[in-house]
Amino acid sequence: MLNFATRRFGLSLLILFVAVTVMFLMIRAVPGDPVQIMLGPRATPELQAQLTAALGLDQPIWKQLLIFYGNLLQGDLGTDVFSGRSVTDIVFQQLPYTLELIFASILWSASLGIALGAYAAAHPNTLIDRIAAAISVSFVAAPAFVVALLALLVFAVHLQWFPAIGAGEGFWDRLDHLVLPAFAIGLSWVGYIARLVRASMLEVMGESHVRTARAFGIAERRVVMVYALRIAILPVVTVIGVGMGFLLSSAVFAEIVFARPGLGKLVIDSITTRNYPIVMGSVLISTALFVVSTALADLINALLDPRARTAH
């Protein structure tokens, strides 16, 4: 198990390294100069040169990359071109907003999705199953930003049940501000997870050990909830792990539509302003988020599934 965890961790680091390097090179290949963007139309050539040198942008790319990694090893992600603040501070200030959004979305969508899927699988080909299927497929059909938009109009502007913008302060207020964005992002996941759980459940329910459990007269409820669901949930854990990474992309839309602070917004803003240190910082963190969540999913899988534990 430990060995498995170490190897998984090593792989994660490697992915992180490659991803960050690729992004570093890619963003440098893109036209646009942070100095020019920052200085705006006022830039004099001297000023530009000074700032370029100050930011280390006059160095060859490979050297910049080395410097970046050198600083990274010391826990330093560099300094924001615009505000002069430490990139670490900036990124970690935005991170909680996105994390709470992603967690809230996953939490509600996974619980509802698993419940729907398990219920549908336990009652295959009944009316309820069909309704659940129709609901889940329709949910999948709704792109996050369209849902966000409509939710905003209906629940924030028209009904004014929930706040329209921002992230709020204090626990309840923040929760209040989370409702609509988390709803928008999570909605398509409900359907996705429900279908996954249903398919997975049906497969597991057809396996021989479930028949054994039934043959021993174990209550159907327990057969479904413990004997089948525990196995059927395994692919869902993986999907959620991978999904955490993808959710960051949906989070961008929610953060734009609901004018929420967050990593997604930070990423978009920093790329469009060619704010290299922040781009690198956010890529690092969001890739780490993805890598950690998939690794975590693998570990949880290993915990839930004793077979995976010894397989490595």
């Binding site: 139309p41 830039a43 001297e46 924030a156 706040p163 913008i165 929760l175 004018a259 602070p261």
Partner: protein, 521 residues
């Protein structure tokens, strides 16, 4: 201070306010109740385009930061809210131009800096202005001070600003805008000469209480401020770049003031939700289509002129600006010296003339690219240009670029047509500075190269006779248009909506002067 330019109906506003007070009483922590208005909690909620990230005026990148700086710092003079550009005293009790290159001032004696940095002195003024022109500071705002030389301190609170040569924009840009902010010399030096994301010492009517990046900046009343007390206890500034989102936030009752999109003007003219009002202001922005005169496809001046005549500005204003904006006559907005009453090429397209010019040019099978930002207004405009140029047989391919790539077009020699929009300060000097030969490869994307234009730009800044100065700038714009490199489209407009409880204080171009905001009673 008397402000009378809102179109609000006070009676209706009062009625609504009373009605909502009942609702406000039921505001729950979770807020399931009516959110249309927060209770009158003394909090003014305004929207900014972006985040004020840097509290150093020397490194301010524009109006977003200036909005905060203007509230937490003082300047000798401030812009006056209203319809006409003008200034009023702030930290200065007296300011006077004694000759074209000398300006004397005297400071109030009751302004102090926070964090124990003491009273504001003439030394602070000297320090604040001189550090901006000091190369070591790397201030991008240095050009705003033009030929500023230094400040002579003549007393504890008295001094003289010395210019190397006359500089008209000193009154319209240098002093009342970014470079006019006075910081505490002691505080900045204590901080190592540079202010970062947090102010080191403040002196204005407000203090920056907190900043949650991407979420909001909170200003709180400065208890030690001795000037006219600001009306609002707290100001919350929300960075929202998208106007649509801001409008939604406003309609959800979460903003008091915001600029709105031109597309919404028609709707807000019919009525602003929650009893608010619409204020329509002109804008200093200028939008035009540029042509890169050095590009092999566009070197033919007749062709460029044909294109000028084939672009139909009224259609663009109708479709992209929803009829809420007027055609531009050049780069200098109405209300500023140098504004031209009309452009040389009439706004409406003249396809016959265009076709004739095209024929004269001898060019056939012209296909061009048109670069533009990825905002709906621009893409709409670009599509109209595409359609109208097609009428004279010119094929246009629209390249939509995200802002990072778009703003890097300066050194793009392959640029052909470009739809562009620059911002402005209330002085024509600022507008012409981007189209000089020196700016080729940077901000002069059309690579418009006119020695005469350059000379006007140099001399007009020092011209103090307003009429003469205006004439010079008009000539400069004629030169631009004659070159065929420019098709002026619009100066846009600045529609602002505000809630019933607010009496906004806006510059003539619609930007907020937060310290002067009032409360409707």
């Amino acid at each position: 201070m008397k402000i009378e330019w809102t179109k609000a109906n006070v009676g209706r506003r009062k009625f609504l306010k009373g009605a909502t007070a009942l609702g406000a009483a039921t505001t729950l922590p979770m807020g399931w109740a009516d959110r249309a208005f927060a209770a009158d909690d003394g909090v003014l909620r305004v929207r900014a385009y972006g985040d004020a990230q840097n509290m150093d005026p020397a490194h301010s990148v524009g109006v977003v930061e200036e909005e905060v700086h203007a509230s937490i710092y003082n300047k000798l003079i401030q812009y006056k809210p209203g319809e006409e550009w003008g200034w009023q005293l702030d930290a200065a009790t007296m300011i006077e131009q004694v000759d074209p290159t000398h300006i004397k001032f005297a400071l109030r004696d009751d302004i102090g800096f926070t964090n124990g940095f003491g009273a504001m002195t003439a030394e602070d003024v000297k320090f604040s202005m001189e550090r901006i022109v000091d190369d070591a500071t790397d201030s991008p705002n240095k050009p705003d001070l033009g030929p500023f030389s230094h400040v002579d301190v003549t007393g504890e609170r008295e001094g003289t600003i010395v210019l190397n040569k006359p500089f008209a924009p000193i009154w319209s840009i240098a002093l009342p805008y970014i470079t006019g902010n006075i910081v505490s010399k002691a505080a900045v030096e204590a901080a190592g000469g540079r202010i970062g994301a947090d102010p080191v010492a403040e002196s204005g009517p407000y203090l920056r209480d907190s900043w949650s990046p991407k979420e909001k900046t909170v200003l709180k009343r400065n208890p030690d401020w001795n000037g006219d007390a600001p009306t609002w206890d707290t100001v919350e500034i929300y960075p929202i770049d998208d106007e649509n989102t801001a409008e939604i936030a406003f309609e959800a009752g979460e903003l008091d003031v915001t600029r709105v999109s031109l597309g919404s003007v028609e709707r807000y003219r019919a009525g602003v939700p929650n009893g608010g009002s619409l204020v329509e202001k002109p804008s200093l922005y200028y939008v035009w289509m540029g042509m890169n005169v050095e590009h092999p496809k566009l070197q033919n001046q007749k062709l460029r002129q044909a294109i000028q005549h084939a672009v139909d500005v009224p259609s663009i204003l109708e479709a992209a600006y929803f009829g809420a904006a007027e055609p531009a006559t050049g780069i200098i907005a109405p209300g500023l010296a140098g504004h031209r009453p009309s452009s040389l090429v009439p706004p409406a397209a003249n396809f016959e003339k265009a076709a004739q010019l095209l024929a004269e040019s001898g060019e056939t099978n012209v296909t061009l690219t048109l670069d533009t930002l990825n905002k709906t207004t621009f893409t709409t405009t670009a599509q109209i240009i595409q359609a109208t140029l097609a009428q004279i047989g010119i094929t246009v391919e629209v390249n939509v670029l995200e802002s990072g790539a778009f703003w890097a077009s300066g050194d793009n020699e392959n640029l052909q047509l470009v739809l562009n929009r620059y911002s402005m300060t209330p002085d024509p000097y600022y507008a012409t500075s981007w189209f000089t030969p020196e700016q080729i490869g940077k901000w002069n994307w059309e690579r418009f190269n006119s020695p005469e234009f350059n000379e006007i730009h140099e001399t007009a800044a020092a011209e103090t006779d307003i009429a003469k100065r205006a004439e010079m700038y008009q000539r400069a714009q004629n030169l631009m248009e004659e070159s065929g490199a420019y098709r002026f489209i619009t100066h846009e407009a600045t529609p602002v909506i505000h809630s019933a409880r607010v009496i906004p204080a806006l510059r003539p171009d619609g930007l907020s002067l937060l310290r002067y905001f009032g409360k409707a009673t």
